[in-house]
């Protein structure tokens, strides 16, 4: 186990892994004066002001439909959790500084300058009560990508030094150590040795050349190591040329969550460089929702050119292998419901992959109402699960998930995101709920057909 950062020790004993609850919160970073913080926030927000973002900034008709799609609003009834309201200071800044009629707004002071105090109040709305799940985008009759804009607003908040304590701590640790949860290369090697020995499975590490580079989530390494074993068993059974690389294994990207583009780029580049170094044709992302968005859809943009390899979520990889006959499975018993990770399904476009796998398993799939693209978020994405002060919001939002699962009537639950799993584990413990979220990857490994 790596040394635990004394400043921000991680709580490995609770169902949800994050830093221990801070006795004193430090929800702002640095000592810049307020005026400078506000200026930095707006500057960073405006730097990302593309044609798409400007279109969205101009288009809200204040209809409130997005509120009904948000688990944090629906379960609290608090209007401030209306998704588009979470962007209000940034809308205000856009109209004043960059909108087509900005000169009019400034001349007559029709929109006031955004203040650091305002941004401090909005920290809870942008971080604690938004998982960037994008359900609001689906509901918006104007098609405004509110979740994308929240990500952009977080860039502004980071520049202003206004990131919540826990999220900044884990993101900073990820930038410094390569993992938000202390899964350093040394820890990874130790874990792999232990798992390989314990489960008598060959886990490929640091092979100089491989067709497939497999990446992991720190949550899997530290909390769900059986996922690594499952992965190795499947890939070995397929006879694949694969490796995990200790110079680029961490697929989670807390640079993205916290709003630090430099960290996001650096975290993505570690993995990209490792994939190139081993000549991988395919990069497989782990059971992690936001890792998919960060690498599949933003990785090339961080790299500055198209990636010289294919990027697949593990569910897409397994579905393709099953389709091609490279992965042979035996039927599973009982019914199962699938929880769609928002960044893989709704926002990632890979909604059909897990269903294809479950079909290959001959599973009796009982969908939650609603499922697939319209599925409700678990409430822990976007870094929300790391924040102690967001627990109340998150637990309330989780009630929707419990109702959905119960309504499905399924005996087992599965997902393909370790962060969702973590959130389910925490929700299960909080509500003393007698259901357990399982990993789709581990389900597949359990049902490999005899060689």
């Amino acid at each position: 186990m790596s040394e635990i950062d004394a400043r921000h020790p991680i709580d490995f004993d609770s169902p949800r892994f994050t830093i221990k609850k801070p006795a004193v919160r430090h929800d702002q970073q640095g000592d810049a004066p307020d005026a400078e913080r506000a200026q930095r926030a707006i500057g960073a927000f405006m730097r990302d002001m593309t044609r798409s973002a400007a279109t969205y900034m101009e288009s809200c008709i204040h209809c409130g439909h997005c509120a009904e799609a948000c688990h944090f609003y629906v379960t609290s009834g608090d209007p401030q959790f209306t998704p588009i309201w979470k962007l209000e200071p940034f809308k205000q800044a856009y109209q004043r500084e960059a909108g087509p009629f900005g000169w009019l707004y400034r001349k007559f002071n029709l929109k006031k300058n955004v203040t650091a105090e305002e941004l401090r109040r909005w920290q809870e709305l942008l971080y604690d009560s938004c998982t960037m799940c994008g359900r609001c985008t689906l509901a918006c009759p104007m098609g405004i990508d509110i979740a994308g804009l929240v990500g952009q607003a977080r860039h502004g908040m980071f520049a202003a030094g206004l990131v919540p304590h826990e999220l900044h701590a884990v993101a900073e640790r990820a930038a410094r150590e390569g993992s938000p949860l202390g899964a350093t290369p040394k820890v990874l090697k130790e874990r792999i040795e232990w798992l390989a020995d314990e489960h008598e499975v060959d886990i490929a590490l640091d092979r100089p050349r491989a067709d497939i580079i497999v990446t992991l989530s720190s949550i899997e390494i530290m909390k769900y190591p059986a996922s690594l074993v499952a992965l190795a068993k499947i890939l070995n059974r397929m006879g694949a040329s694969w490796t995990i690389r200790s110079d680029g294994y961490e697929a989670t990207n807390f640079g993205l969550f916290s709003g630090n583009l430099d960290w996001q780029r650096e975290m993505s580049l570690r993995v990209i460089r490792a994939a190139i170094a081993c000549g991988a044709k395919t990069l497989v992302l782990p059971e992690c929702g936001h890792a998919y968005g960060a690498m599949r859809w933003q990785g090339a943009n961080m790299y500055g050119k198209p990636l010289p390899f294919e990027v697949l979520h593990i569910s897409e990889f397994l579905a393709a292998a099953a389709r091609a006959g490279r992965l042979k499975l035996k039927p599973m018993q009982g019914s199962v419901t699938f929880h769609d990770p928002c960044q893989v399904s709704r926002r990632g476009g890979a909604t059909s992959a897990p269903r294809e796998i479950l079909n290959s398993l001959g599973a009796d799939l009982k969908e939650m109402p609603p499922a697939g693209d319209a599925n409700w978020c678990c409430g822990g994405g976007g870094g929300v699960v790391t924040l102690h002060r967001a627990d109340e919001h998150r637990h309330r939002a989780f009630e929707i998930k419990m109702r959905q699962v119960e309504a499905s009537g399924a005996e087992r639950l599965a997902t393909s995101c370790s962060n969702c799993r973590l959130t389910f584990d925490d929700g299960q413990a909080h509500y003393k709920w007698d259901r357990k979220m399982e990993s789709l990857l581990e389900l597949v490994a359990e049902h490999l057909a005899p060689a």
Partner: protein, 226 residues
């Protein structure tokens, strides 16, 4: 200058110019921003078609996502009613024909009268909901209320003009309407609408196509849900 002459002349010309240039400037403000070049490998190649699909798909609530149903039905009702009033009422078609040279067959006056009632009731309902619903009250600002006012004003001033059937449409505007002041006020209220439209939320009449297309194209490229 008599009020009607002012409304038909310089006021109309000025408001039309502000409407066209203002809307063009607002759209230019968007399109002048840098476009993001997405270097990720597209899942689908039909992003332009996806943009078009989104324009139509977003007319209906998404499957599996609950929206404010009654509010949506009301919005549909008064949007359709407003379109009928603006483009299917004989005097309005004649007005458009005189200024733009485009004409088409009007619907009977009774259709407009019913549409006007629907629009007025719908707009009042929308305002009441906006004032009483916590979410809408929080989101609302001057733009929402002023946009409501400039939409409602031409309806009310138009109602005041109705004194005789207009079907079929007169080929030319009457030289001296029986109530020139009321007609002038009606025209001025329309001109106020034209003056405000480019600057506030009423510009969604144009932005709806841009915004939906943008999301439809970007999300289709990823294969993501629209």
């Amino acid at each position: 200058m008599p009020l009607l002459e002012f409304a038909r002349g310089p006021a109309l010309a000025f408001s039309a110019v502000v409407f066209v240039l203002g809307l063009a400037w607002r759209l230019y403000g968007i399109f002048a921003r840098p476009a993001r070049i997405d270097l990720s490998q597209a899942r689908r190649a039909d992003s332009a078609a996806g943009g078009m699909r989104a324009i139509f798909a977003k007319m209906l609530p998404p499957k599996g996502v609950k929206v404010r149903g009654a509010q949506m039905v009301n919005a549909y009702a008064y949007h359709i009613a407003l379109a009928l009033i603006a483009f299917a009422f004989a005097p309005h078609i004649a007005f458009i024909a005189r200024h733009l040279g485009l004409g088409w067959t009007p619907l009977p006056d009774a259709v407009t009268y019913v549409a006007t009632a629907v629009a007025i009731v719908g707009l009042i309902t929308a305002l009441v909901v906006r004032l009483t619903d916590g979410v809408l009250r929080l989101l609302s600002n001057f733009d929402d209320y002023f946009s409501w006012f400039v939409t409602m004003a031409p309806l009310l001033t138009g109602m005041a003009l109705i004194e005789r059937p207009y079907f079929p449409a007169p080929a030319v505007a009457p030289a001296l309407p029986t109530t020139p002041e009321l007609l002038a006020i009606h025209l001025l209220s329309l001109e106020l609408l034209l003056l405000w439209l480019p600057f506030g939320k009423l510009a969604h009449a144009a932005l709806v196509f841009v915004s939906r297309w943008r999301t439809g194209a970007d999300f289709t490229r990823k294969g993501a849900a629209i």
